[in-house]
C-alpha cells in the first residue's frame, strides 16, 4: 500500500487537530500510527478511511485521491473496514445483527450466509455466548471484539483499526494479532492506531509517530520504536513499559 | 347553589352572537334588543344586572346548575326545552325561513322536502328540531356556525339553509349575488324567557314585567331602535314583522 498525505489540515472550530501533516509511505502491509493522546491519530484514521474530508491538503492512497469529492469517498468506503476507538456499535441491534446487517445489505450476502459468516467470526473471538446481546449488555472487550468482527467480516481491501486491543486481555490481543497476520497474508492492507508499542512492533512493518497534529518520525517499526532519531520521539518512547 | 351570590344581583345568560338581538358593540360591551330588555327588567325588579355571555348549548345547563337566573337569548319555546326549564309568556313571534342558491327553483318548504336534497340547519336550534320532525326525505347537515351554512348555500354545496327569519335575511344580504331568500315563515314559533324550574316567584315577576313592557310600547321602541331598515323592507315585501 502506498500512502501519501500532503499538508493535511483538519480544523474543529478554532482547533487544528491536524496541523499540516505530511506523510509518505512507499510500500507497507501494515502501518502503525503512534503518538501522544490527542496528537491526531484518530483524526488521521478518519481522513484516510474517507469518513471525513480534510479542511485542506491532499490524501492519496494507492494512487487514488481520497479528497473533497463525496461520491468518490463513498465508493472508497465500501472497500474498507473500520474499527472505531469507541466501537460505535449500533445500540438497538444485537451483536450478531451489528455484524450480519452490513454483510447482507451492503455486500450482497444472503441472510443465511451473512449469519453463518458472522457466527464463525464470533466463534473465533470467543463471543458465541454473547451474539444475542445488545452492545450495552456486553463488557468493554466484548464490544471491541464485535467491532473488529464487523470491520473484517466483508473481507475489505484495507482495514483501519483505532486502538483495537485497548480493552482486550493478552490472550485476545494475541488472537487479534493473528487475525491481522491472516489479513496481511490475504493481501489485505492495514492501518492501526495504537498505544501498545509491543503490539505495534509485532503487527506493523512501518510506524509513523504523530504528535500535535504533525508527523514527528516515520520508518520501519523496529527502528522507530527501538532507536528513534528525533528528540521528541525519544522522549515519547522512553516512558514505554512494554518496549 | 343559587343562594351563593348576593340576592340583589340578576344574572342573565345569553349568547352574544345573534345580531341585532344579542351582540356586542365596538367596545366589546353587550348590546342589542335582549340586552335592553334585560336592563329594563332589572330596573323593574330593583336589582343589579350582570350579563353572562354563554354559548347557546351552555345556556340551559348554566340555568339548571344555578349559574344564571334567566335566559334571554332569542330562545324559542319548545316542549322538549320546557321539560328542563320553565318559560315565561312569549314575547315575540317569528318563524323559520329558507335560504337557497341562486339557481334553485324551490318556492316553498314542500319543494325542498324531496329525496336527494341536502338541507343545512344550525344544530340545536328550532330549525334543527323542525327538520328532524318534518323533513323526512332530505339529507340533513348540522352546522354550529351559521356563516358556514350560508357559505355552503352560496357555494352550492347544499340545496337549502333553514333558519329563523332575521338570520336568513341578514345572511342573504351577505351573499346577494349567489343566494335567494324565501322570507315568508313557513311555521309559527315564539320566543320566551327561560327560568329555572321551581323558581316561580321570579317567573311571575318576569311575566308581569313582559305584560307591562309590551303595553307601554317598549317592544315597538326596540324595533325602531335596532331593526328600522328591516321593519321597512319587511313592510314593503308584505311579510309579518316580529313586534
Amino acid at each position: 500500500m502506498k500512502l501519501f498525505l500532503k499538508d493535511v489540515v483538519q480544523s474543529y472550530g478554532g482547533l487544528r487537530a491536524l496541523d499540516g501533516l505530511d506523510l509518505a509511505v512507499e510500500d507497507t502491509s501494515c502501518l502503525a500510527l503512534i503518538g501522544p493522546s490527542g496528537g491526531g491519530k484518530s483524526t488521521t484514521l478518519r481522513l484516510l478511511s474517507g469518513l471525513e474530508a480534510p479542511t485542506s491538503g491532499s490524501i492519496v492512497i494507492n494512487g487514488q485521491e481520497i479528497g473533497d469529492d463525496t461520491d468518490r469517498r463513498r465508493r472508497f468506503r465500501k472497500q474498507v473496514g473500520i474499527v472505531f476507538q469507541a466501537y460505535n456499535l449500533f445500540p438497538h441491534l444485537t451483536a450478531l445483527a451489528n455484524v450480519a446487517l452490513p454483510l447482507e445489505k451492503v455486500h450482497g450476502y444472503s441472510t443465511t450466509d451473512a449469519i453463518l459468516k458472522s457466527e464463525s467470526l464470533f466463534e473465533r473471538f470467543q463471543l458465541e455466548d454473547h451474539m444475542m446481546k445488545k452492545p450495552a449488555e456486553l463488557s468493554g472487550g466484548q464490544n471491541q471484539r464485535v467491532a473488529i468482527a464487523r470491520a473484517i467480516a466483508p473481507d475489505p481491501d484495507i482495514v483501519f483499526l483505532d486502538e483495537p486491543t485497548s480493552a482486550l486481555d493478552p490472550e485476545m490481543t494475541a488472537e487479534v494479532l493473528d487475525a491481522i497476520y491472516g489479513l496481511i497474508e490475504g493481501e489485505k492492507r492495514i492501518v492501526i492506531a495504537t498505544h501498545q508499542m509491543g503490539f505495534a512492533q509485532r503487527a506493523a512493518d512501518t510506524v509513523a509517530l504523530i504528535a500535535e497534529g504533525k508527523l514527528v518520525e516515520t520508518g520501519p517499526s523496529k527502528q522507530v520504536i527501538e532507536t528513534p532519531n528525533t528528540p521528541r520521539a525519544q522522549k515519547f518512547l522512553e516512558a514505554c513499559l512494554d518496549r | 347553589c343559587s343562594n351563593k351570590k348576593p340576592s340583589n344581583l340578576l344574572i342573565v345568560g345569553m349568547e352574544l352572537s345573534y345580531p341585532p338581538f344579542e351582540m356586542t358593540d365596538e367596545q366589546n360591551q353587550p348590546t342589542g334588543i335582549s340586552v335592553d330588555m334585560a336592563q329594563a327588567l332589572s330596573r323593574e325588579l330593583g336589582k343589579d344586572l350582570r350579563i353572562e355571555n354563554i354559548p347557546f348549548a351552555g345556556l340551559i345547563p348554566s340555568l339548571r346548575t344555578g349559574k344564571i337566573d334567566l335566559i334571554i337569548s332569542s330562545m324559542t319555546q319548545t316542549e322538549e326545552r320546557a321539560q328542563s326549564i320553565d318559560f315565561s309568556d312569549p314575547y315575540l313571534d317569528t318563524g323559520l325561513c329558507i335560504l337557497l342558491p341562486k339557481a334553485s327553483d324551490a318556492k316553498s318548504i314542500e319543494d325542498i322536502d324531496t329525496p336527494g336534497t341536502t338541507v343545512a340547519v344550525k344544530q340545536g336550534t328550532t330549525s334543527h328540531i323542525y327538520a328532524n320532525q318534518h323533513l323526512g326525505k332530505v339529507e340533513l347537515l348540522l352546522f354550529e356556525d351559521e356563516a358556514a351554512a350560508a357559505l355552503e348555500v352560496a357555494q352550492g354545496k347544499v340545496d337549502a339553509f333553514i333558519y329563523d327569519q332575521i338570520s336568513i335575511y341578514l345572511n342573504w344580504k351577505k351573499h346577494t349575488e349567489t343566494t335567494i331568500a324565501l322570507l315568508r315563515p313557513f311555521n309559527q314559533e315564539s320566543w320566551a324567557i327561560g327560568v329555572r324550574k321551581g323558581n316561580t316567584a321570579l317567573l311571575e315577576e318576569v311575566n308581569s314585567f313582559l305584560k307591562e313592557f309590551d303595553s307601554s310600547g317598549g317592544f315597538d321602541a326596540l324595533g325602531d331602535k335596532y331593526l328600522a331598515e328591516e321593519k321597512r323592507i319587511f313592510k314593503e315585501l308584505g311579510y309579518p314583522f316580529f313586534f
Binding site: L51, H92, K134 | G124, L141
Partner: protein, 264 residues
C-alpha cells in the same frame, strides 16, 4: 400482608410472588380515589339523571363513533406520510424546499385548526373543485396532524448521535440504508410517546370537522345533548367512546416502547 408488601413496588431483582396482586390492589385504590371525588361532586349537584333519553339515541352515538374512527384512521395514515415527507424536505439541501417545509410546520402548528378547516374547505377545496366533505375533512386532518408528526420525527431523527452516522458511513451504508436501518428504528423508538399523543390528539381534534357538517362523534353527542337537554348523559358516552379508541393506542405505544428499549 403489611402496608409495604401491598403498596410498594418490589425492588428490581426481587421476584416477589404477589406482584400482580399488588398491582391490582393499588390500581383499585387509584380508581376508587378518583370515583369517590366524582361521586361526591355529583352528589352535591342534585342533578336529575335522564339516561333513557340518551339511550334512545344510541344509534346516533354509534354512527358518529364509526365516522370518527374511519376519518381519523385514514387521516393518520396520510398524516404520517405527509409528516415524513415534510421531515425529509426539512433536511433537504435545496433551500426553498427546506423553507417550504418549515413554513408548513410553523403555520399549521401555529394557527387554530378551526381557521384551517374553514380556509381549506371553503376556499382551497372549492377552488380545486373538490366537493366531497369527507375527502376534504380527511385531507385537512392529515395536513394538520402531518405538521405535528413532522416536528416529532425531526426531533427523533436529531436525537440519533453523530457517532451512529459515522458508524453507518463506515460500513458502507448508502444514505437510504443509513436512514432505514440506523436512523429510523432509533428515531421511531424515541418518537413513540409523542406519536401516540399526537394520534390521540388527531382523533379528538377531528371533532372540529363538525364545523363543516361532518357528523362525527362529538357533533352527534352534542346533537343528542341539544335534543334531549341531558348534557352529562351524552358527555359520558362521549368520553368513553373516545377512550375506547385512544386507550389501546396509548397502551400499545407503551408496550412497544418497552419492547424496543435499549441502552446507549
Amino acid at each position: 400482608m403489611s402496608f409495604n408488601s401491598l403498596f410498594l413496588e418490589p425492588r428490581k431483582g426481587n421476584t416477589a410472588k404477589n406482584k400482580s396482586v399488588r398491582k391490582a390492589v393499588s390500581f383499585l385504590v387509584a380508581i376508587l380515589t378518583l370515583s369517590i371525588v366524582l361521586f361526591a361532586s355529583f352528589a352535591t349537584l342534585s342533578y336529575q339523571w335522564n339516561w333513557e333519553a340518551a339511550f334512545r339515541y344510541r344509534l346516533k352515538f354509534l354512527d358518529g363513533w364509526f365516522t370518527t374512527l374511519k376519518i381519523s384512521s385514514v387521516s393518520f395514515i396520510f398524516a404520517f406520510v405527509i409528516g415524513s415527507l415534510s421531515t425529509l424536505c426539512s433536511k433537504s439541501r435545496f433551500l426553498p424546499l427546506k423553507y417550504l417545509s418549515l413554513l408548513y410546520v410553523e403555520l399549521i402548528r401555529g394557527t387554530p385548526l378551526l381557521v384551517q378547516i374553514f380556509l381549506f374547505y371553503y376556499v382551497i377545496a372549492d377552488a380545486a373543485n373538490v366537493q366531497n366533505r369527507y375527502v376534504v375533512g380527511v385531507a385537512i386532518m392529515a395536513i394538520f396532524s402531518g405538521a405535528y408528526i413532522s416536528e416529532i420525527l425531526r426531533a427523533g431523527i436529531e436525537s440519533v448521535g453523530r457517532s451512529q452516522l459515522l458508524s453507518a458511513k463506515s460500513i458502507g451504508f448508502t444514505e437510504y440504508q443509513t436512514f432505514r436501518y440506523v436512523i429510523a428504528p432509533q428515531a421511531l423508538r424515541s418518537s413513540l410517546p409523542a406519536l401516540a399523543g399526537q394520534t390521540a390528539n388527531l382523533i379528538k381534534d377531528s371533532s372540529l370537522l363538525s364545523i363543516i357538517a361532518i357528523s362525527e362523534f362529538t357533533l352527534n353527542a352534542q346533537e343528542v345533548n341539544a335534543i334531549t337537554y341531558s348534557s352529562f348523559e351524552s358527555f359520558f358516552p362521549l368520553a368513553i367512546g373516545y377512550l375506547i379508541i385512544t386507550l389501546p393506542i396509548m397502551r400499545l405505544s407503551r408496550y412497544i416502547e418497552e419492547r424496543l428499549r435499549y441502552d446507549t
